[in-house]
């Protein structure tokens, strides 16, 4: 979905927008996949009635959204050879991040994990940015068979990752460098007011929507 409007609040990759959908009480948080001027690209998977409603929108329609939510990734830690690891619905924010890092002249390596070949998207887009791209599929139908952690390279300066919690945990355990991890949680407001998406960290309680969704590796406290 490509939207046009005032996106001046979006300052970092890893931030999200929160979309009001008529007939649904809570907004849908979707991470920013790309931003060019006032043109915003969002990629989402149709999983429920809300995303189904989004998928039915036609060109020219208007949606109300809050933009620039969340802290986003801190690019200053990247080093020269950042590693970006995205799993499934965690891939889109990696694109915006890769684009910014490539623009800064970094050597970006992207690992994208999917279940099956038919879920894969954006491989070419990442390559066009100049990234080195590794795709893994759980069933081996494309790329390297296995999980993203089965495809970690030898050499990288820093890790940025986004994906389902089990993947984040596996990446956390597997990587050697510091890094930033983007988390998901059911949100109420999306801007820090309701405490609906709180989590415990080593540096205190954090709101995923406001103090996150990106946490630094060193502050993460796994709950189970």
């Amino acid at each position: 979905m490509v939207l046009e409007g005032d996106c001046s609040q979006i300052t970092s990759p890893g931030q999200f927008v929160n979309i009001h959908l008529p007939g649904f009480y809570l907004r849908r948080p979707i991470s920013v996949c790309d931003l060019e001027g006032d043109q915003l690209t969002l990629i989402y998977k149709t999983v429920g009635k809300g995303t189904a409603y989004m998928a039915e929108r036609k060109t020219g329609e208007t949606l109300l959204l809050l933009t620039g939510l969340g802290n986003g990734y801190d690019l200053s830690c990247a080093g020269s050879k950042p590693l970006l690891v995205g799993g499934g619905a965690g891939v889109p924010p990696m694109y915006f991040l890769a684009k910014r890092l490539c623009a800064e002249g970094k050597t970006v390596h992207v690992i994208m994990g999917f279940n099956r070949q038919d879920e894969i998207f954006f491989e070419e887009e990442f390559k066009k940015l100049g990234c080195r791209v590794t795709v893994t599929t759980v069933d081996g139908s494309y790329g390297k068979k296995g999980f993203v952690t089965d495809a970690l390279p030898e050499n990288y300066s820093y890790v940025y990752t986004c994906g389902p919690e089990p993947m984040l945990k596996a990446v956390y355990k597997a990587v050697q460098t510091e890094g930033q991890f983007s988390f998901e949680e059911r949100m109420g407001c999306g801007f820090g007011a309701c405490m609906g998406c709180s989590c415990r960290t080593l540096t205190g309680y954090k709101r995923i929507c406001k103090d996150g969704p990106v946490l630094r590796k060193e502050e993460i406290l796994w709950e189970d």
Binding site: M187, C189, G192, A193, C194, M195, C197, S198, K210
Partner: protein
């Protein structure tokens, strides 16, 4: 006197629009979006004696025209609220604020209320005896008239500022509880807190909320809120603050017709952070439309 001016327990507020506790933090997230000094006042995040993380996540579920939350009174505890949050709050909000107080025992309620009563920024103490999301506390005080009266009296005895008691709708007879609180010295009643509800996740076959049940808010509960405000306003002499699903200036007027002297706005802040500012702007227009000159005389 402006046409929206409201007297709330002896303190005049510019308008009757009050963001409800738990949906407005300590104000500063909203102050990034608009000047929150346009508000009548606001009720800050429910405060307890000790710091609380609250319930495990997920704490939020969507429902038709509403939402469930089971935050469970996450807050840094009264000492830190006073030392860290109130100074930040005072920078962005220059009117008297409403201090929302929760507890797990009468002593805790009294302790926290007394601490906040001594803060100059605090105009009113709102006693939350109706949180449905904490076990062995909160709501249990609000579902028995005797217990409600006891904690009300205990707090009232200690504090100097007006005491508002916030009631639970999860009761057979709201008027019985309201009258008990009035009799125990409450200066006002606010209602309704959330209705207890739940949702299931068909994929996991388990409740969506980690806490199993949560509090229902949003437009879905508005008719129930109107009914309980109406019943309460007809049962007590003290002012009644109406809340529950209010989402528009028209809803605010319906609450006024039900007998509310002011309104609190909760869940709507979460879906539209500008809603309270917008309602304050629209209220005079809607009052004109329905021939209402003064809020207080409606």
């Amino acid at each position: 006197m402006g046409r929206l001016t409201t007297n709330l327990c002896g303190i005049e507020i510019d308008n009757p629009i009050i963001p409800a506790s738990g949906t407005f933090g300590y104000g500063y997230e909203f102050a990034e979006l608009y000047d929150i000094n346009c508000l009548g006042t606001f009720s800050f995040k429910g405060t307890t004696k000790e710091p609380r993380f609250g319930n495990e996540t997920p704490r939020i579920a969507e429902t038709p025209s509403g939402m469930l939350n089971s935050v469970g009174l996450q807050n840094p505890g009264v000492e830190k609220v006073i030392s860290e949050e109130l100074p930040k709050l005072k920078k962005v909000f220059h009117k008297k604020v409403m201090a929302n107080v929760s507890g797990f025992s009468e002593e805790e309620y009294v302790y926290t209320a007394l601490k906040l009563d001594q803060e100059e920024a605090v105009g009113w103490i709102e006693l939350n005896i109706s949180c449905p999301n904490v076990h062995g506390g909160g709501m249990s005080f609000g579902t028995k008239a005797e217990d409600a009266a006891k904690v009300t009296a205990a707090v009232k005895k200690e504090i100097k500022k007006p005491l508002i008691v916030k009631l639970s709708p999860n009761v057979t007879d709201i008027t019985e509880i309201a009258k008990a609180c009035e009799g125990a010295g409450a200066d006002a009643i606010s209602l309704i807190n959330t209705l207890m509800g739940m949702r299931f996740d068909l994929k996991t076959k388990k409740p969506i909320l980690a806490n199993v049940t949560g509090g229902l808010s949003g437009p879905a509960v508005f008719p129930v809120a109107l009914r309980m405000v109406y019943q309460t306003a007809n049962a007590v002499q003290i002012p009644v603050i109406g809340m529950g699903g209010i989402s528009s200036a028209e809803d605010v007027l319906e609450m006024r017709l039900a007998g509310a002297c002011a309104v609190e706005i909760g869940a709507a802040n979460l879906t539209n952070p500008f809603i309270c500012r917008d309602i304050i702007e629209e209220l005079p227009i809607v009052m004109d439309k329905y021939g209402v000159e003064q809020w207080q005389k409606m």
